[in-house]
């Protein structure tokens, strides 16, 4: 015990903490009593993602310290206490609060401070550095009384700070000393495009501005005066003009300091004192300081290795970086400016899409030296691999930045990477490390992250890690598990076939015959949906109700505050004045928020469960029926007004839309289904973006299938042309039934089509040519669904037993006091957390 040495770490920032974690993971962790000083009131947090503090992340979320880390590892941490001096002769460290610790080994991780330009007036009130969580709190407080904000510095952090100000609704300006943004990483072309994109976001960008003084403003609190005679009025100023290493404590005890600042270190990260190391932004290696975390982490690893008697050397750092800046992709690799002698440049510029790509290659055109990507950084992982692993370029290197015009793929597949290739530069994880981890049983991204730490830093390599994983699994002959969940070793299609062939009518029967356990939310919903598609029984039957998620259980759409929204069906978007008045009266009576949906109907929000039955009674009395907005089922058939009114209309789109909606309403499917019908090729109903789209043409109806909007929009494929109505309906019957039978759970028609072997041609051969000889079956199934349609609300209103469930408490008529609304633009909306707390406090 007593022969343990004492190791002191000054600074608990990102690098200091990373050092502690590396040390505790090493074999020498028991050789030292470890003591660390942390000047801030919070242990290490993620400074790289500081701006996420504004988008709702808490200080806790940003923390880099696992709960109990210091206790578990017996590390003594002095929080909120700054180490103030080092006595190298006595080998002691003394803190501001008077703690004195004798050390055997000392690690300086004192980091850096924001550089405040030495301008008269730079310390006026509301002029703040952008560096720590305390700074952010001060900045938010200042922003409350400000209308205009300026950020000094147009580098990475400066632009992030500008985004934060913009999000706080300030008129925002970036003031850059250099002639271009991100001058270290980007060339002129890339920086110019970035400037345009930042300006498009409503942020002003001033370049080549040398601020000479800050004085009282005329219209704002301050006025920045520039050397070229121009001025900028602003209420607050954020400094993000780079960083300066903090080395006062090292300087004071006589350690060597570099000319340009920073504690001088050698390849082992030792300072001029052989018992003192320096790592991270405070250290100067080869007269260079590093303002990124990856080099700091590399230094931390070097020190741990050196303490353990190893020979590792810090050899400089790859300063390549990729990030999303205010939604704009930006990446820079290596020698972005092409300063290497003899280097050659390829540039691709696309003014239409706002994309700029430039690569710098070696004199012999064989190796990548650097790159700049703005507007589209999807090529970064591949380019970075070429660069960092010195892989020989293809004979036409420009193919790496030109858009793919055909099927040829120019990406560097994970298989082409050597085992030594570094995949994650934050934690120095190679492809070999990942492969070893996979062989060791980590076959999911989550397990790989836990085991190797890959993709847990900046996250830039996540896609590459995933593709290495997929590639390795495939090579190892792993069969990807397609079981729907642990209770059924079947796919959704298998389950559908079992239900169909064995005529199974309940979940219990299927579980008994083919499953195990009690089921879960995944298989219950999927099987509930299949049973509803196939048998079309009432979903709230005793046998089915426990399979429905809360939307189907209450036949309404759950909203974020636990209330529901109500959508009565308005076929084809048609509604009579009396109908509209009735809907309006219901909304008014129950105080519901009212909005028009994209599917041409009216949505009423904010109904409590106990209000749903009386609301529906009134809607049913007024002639409405359920709109099935809550189900994975047919939603709406949107239409334009068509030939009935429109002078361009070719056919009656509304009439067809009403007929189609009435035919397919209530059809349960793997996912929601939307239709639209346009009366001419002007396509006002946007039918080509729907699962089923119909467009009137002179020769009949054109049918489009498998389009959708949503997260990944897809145009529908033209399936058949000039159809008469009878054929059109037959085709739709068949396509939909085939989709319901063969799609995966929660798979929209678009993805179903894209995953179908043979694609559109195959679907045509099934539906038009009856290749599988199942069209009679498909049509008969659809006819069954049509014949057994019921309005679920009408059925429910007639059943006392079912209505019992429509109350918040089983044993009380009280309502949920947590549901609270406030008014906005003349209607209700759910109270946010602060408003809710306030309202509950007032009540109490």
């Amino acid at each position: 015990m007593s022969n343990k040495q004492t190791l002191v770490v000054i600074g608990n920032g990102m690098v200091g903490q990373n050092f502690l974690v590396s040390l505790m993971a090493s074999e020498i962790k028991d050789n030292y009593n470890v003591v660390t000083f942390c000047e801030e009131e919070l242990p290490a947090y993620d400074r790289v993602h500081l701006s996420e503090y504004f988008s709702g992340k808490s200080a806790d979320d940003l923390s880099l310290v696992e709960e109990g880390f210091f206790e578990t590892n017996n590390i003594t941490i002095h929080m909120g206490d700054k180490a103030s001096s080092i006595d190298r002769a006595a080998k002691t460290v003394t803190s501001e609060k008077g703690v004195e610790i004798a050390y055997d080994k000392l690690v300086l991780a004192t980091g850096s401070t924001a550089f405040i330009p030495p301008i008269p007036g730079n310390d006026r009130e509301g002029c703040i550095a952008y560096r720590t969580i305390d700074d952010l709190d001060e900045m938010m407080a200042t922003a409350k009384t400000s209308k205009v904000g300026a950020v000094v510095g147009g580098g990475l952090l400066g632009l992030e700070a500008a985004k934060a100000l913009r999000d706080l609704n300030l008129e925002t300006h970036v003031v850059q000393f250099a002639p271009r943004l991100m001058e270290a990483q980007l060339d002129d072309g890339g920086a110019l495009l970035l400037k345009q994109k930042i300006e498009d976001l409503g942020v002003g960008v001033l370049t080549s501005k040398n601020t000479t003084q800050i004085v009282d403003g005329d219209t704002c609190k301050h006025k920045m005066v520039f050397a070229d005679g121009t001025e900028l009025e602003t209420d607050m100023i954020l400094y993000s003009a780079g960083i300066r290493p903090r080395y006062e404590i090292a300087d004071a005890c006589g350690l060597d300091i570099a000319d340009r600042g920073g504690v001088v270190i050698n390849d082992q990260c030792l300072t001029s004192d052989e018992d003192i190391y320096a790592i991270g932004e405070c250290a100067s290696w080869n007269n260079q300081t590093f303002g990124l975390v990856a080099p700091g982490y590399a230094m931390a690893r070097t020190v741990v290795d050196h303490l353990a008697g190893g020979q590792d050397e810090f050899t400089g750092a790859d300063m390549s970086t990729k990030l999303k800046l205010n939604g704009v992709d930006v990446a820079s690799i290596g020698d972005a400016h092409g300063t290497t002698a003899g280097s050659l440049v390829y540039t691709y510029q696309n003014g239409v899409d706002g994309v700029y790509k430039r690569i710098v290659v070696s004199e012999d055109n064989k190796y990548l030296l650097g790159a700049v990507l703005v507007g589209d950084a999807s090529g970064y992982p591949t380019l970075h691999q070429y660069y960092s692993n010195e892989i020989e370029l293809p004979s036409n290197p420009d193919s790496l930045i030109l858009p793919a015009r055909s099927d040829e793929s120019v990406g560097l597949g994970p298989d082409a990477l050597p085992a030594s290739a570094q995949v994650c530069s934050c934690f120095d994880v190679t492809k070999g490390d990942i492969c070893t981890s996979i062989e060791g049983g980590c076959t999911t991204i989550g397990a790989l992250k836990d085991d190797t730490k890959a993709a847990t830093g900046c996250g830039g390599c996540a896609a590459l890690v995933k593709s290495v994983l997929d590639c390795e699994l495939e090579k190892a002959g792993f069969e990807v598990n397609t079981d729907i969940c642990e209770h059924f070793a079947y796919t959704r299609q298998d389950l559908y076939n079992l239900i169909m062939v064995e005529e199974i009518k309940t979940f219990g029967e299927l579980l008994e015959k083919h499953g195990s356990g009690k089921g879960c939310e995944i298989c219950k919903q999927a099987i509930g949906s299949i049973l509803a598609s196939y048998w079309n029984d009432y979903v709230l039957d005793d046998d089915h109700v426990s399979l429905q998620d809360t939307n189907d259980t209450f036949l309404a759409n759950t909203q974020k505050d636990g209330t529901y929204s109500v959508v009565p069906r308005m076929t084809g978007g048609e509604v009579t004045p009396d109908g509209l008045i009735a809907v309006g009266n219901v909304a008014k009576k129950y105080g519901l928020y009212t909005k028009i949906t994209g599917g041409q109907r009216v949505d009423l929000f904010g109904a409590r469960v106990d209000q749903l039955p009386p609301i529906w009674q009134e809607l049913i009395d007024a002639g409405f029926e359920s709109g099935h907005a809550y189900g994975k089922s047919l939603r709406t058939v949107k239409s334009c007004v068509g030939s009935t009114w429109c002078r361009f209309g070719v056919d009656d789109s509304v009439g067809l839309a009403v007929e189609l909606e009435n035919r397919y309403k209530g059809l349960r499917a793997p996912h929601k289904i939307k239709f639209a019908v346009s009366g001419c090729t002007r396509e006002c109903a946007e039918a080509q973006s729907k699962d089923i789209g119909v467009i009137a043409v002179e020769g009949g109806w054109n049918l489009y299938v498998c389009g959708n909007g949503g997260m990944k929009p897809r145009h529908g494929d033209l399936f058949a042309t000039n159809l008469d109505k009878e054929t059109l309906i037959k085709y739709i019957d068949r396509v939909l039934t085939f989709y319901v039978r063969t799609a995966d759970r929660l798979q929209r028609t678009s993805v179903w089509m894209e995953n179908m072997e043979g694609g559109l041609d195959y679907l045509k051969s099934v539906v038009i040519d009856d290749k599988l000889q199942i069209n009679d079956q498909l049509e008969a199934h659809m006819q069954h669904v049509v014949d057994t349609y019921q309005c679920e609300w009408t059925t429910t209103m007639a059943d006392e037993n079912k209505l019992k469930r429509f109350r918040h408490f089983v044993n009380s008529d009280k309502t949920d006091e947590n549901i609270i609304f406030v008014e906005e633009r003349g209607q209700i909306r759910p109270a946010n957390i602060e408003e809710r707390a306030l309202a509950l406090a007032e009540e109490a």
């Binding site: 009690k518 879960c520 939310e521 919903q525 469930r805 408490f809 089983v810 044993n811 949920d816």
Partner: protein, 111 residues
């Protein structure tokens, strides 16, 4: 301190699903698995969506552990302990619950 409070009849429970009861001031989600004659009680408040809704989740089991899946963001909670199975640092309170004859009783003090 702890005592059993009569809440509702067994017929008021929904087989393979949940209901919410008001016990003193607490919202208690009660789930019923009739095949095992098992009842479970946990707090109705979903710590992820911050609303009272767990009683409306789908129930089942994961590796034999009975669970409910929140209807809002789908996190799963053990019906026995209230611990979130997707993030074990999060837990909702669990309570004592039993069937006496045809009545359901809850005990906020028991687990």
């Amino acid at each position: 301190m702890s005592q059993w409070v009569d809440v509702c009849s067994v017929d008021d429970l929904i087989p393979h699903s949940g209901v919410c009861a008001l016990v003193e001031e607490t919202q208690v989600a009660i789930f019923y698995m009739p095949e095992d004659k098992a009842v479970f009680a946990i707090n109705n408040f979903d710590p992820f969506s911050l609303i009272n809704i767990l009683s409306r989740g789908l129930i089942g089991d994961i590796q034999g552990e009975p669970m409910v899946s929140s209807p809002i963001y789908k996190q799963r909670f053990s019906l026995k302990t209230g611990v979130c199975m997707d993030d074990e640092t999060v837990k909702v309170d669990s309570y004592g619950v039993r069937i006496e004859g045809d009545r359901v009783e809850v005990n906020l003090g028991a687990v």
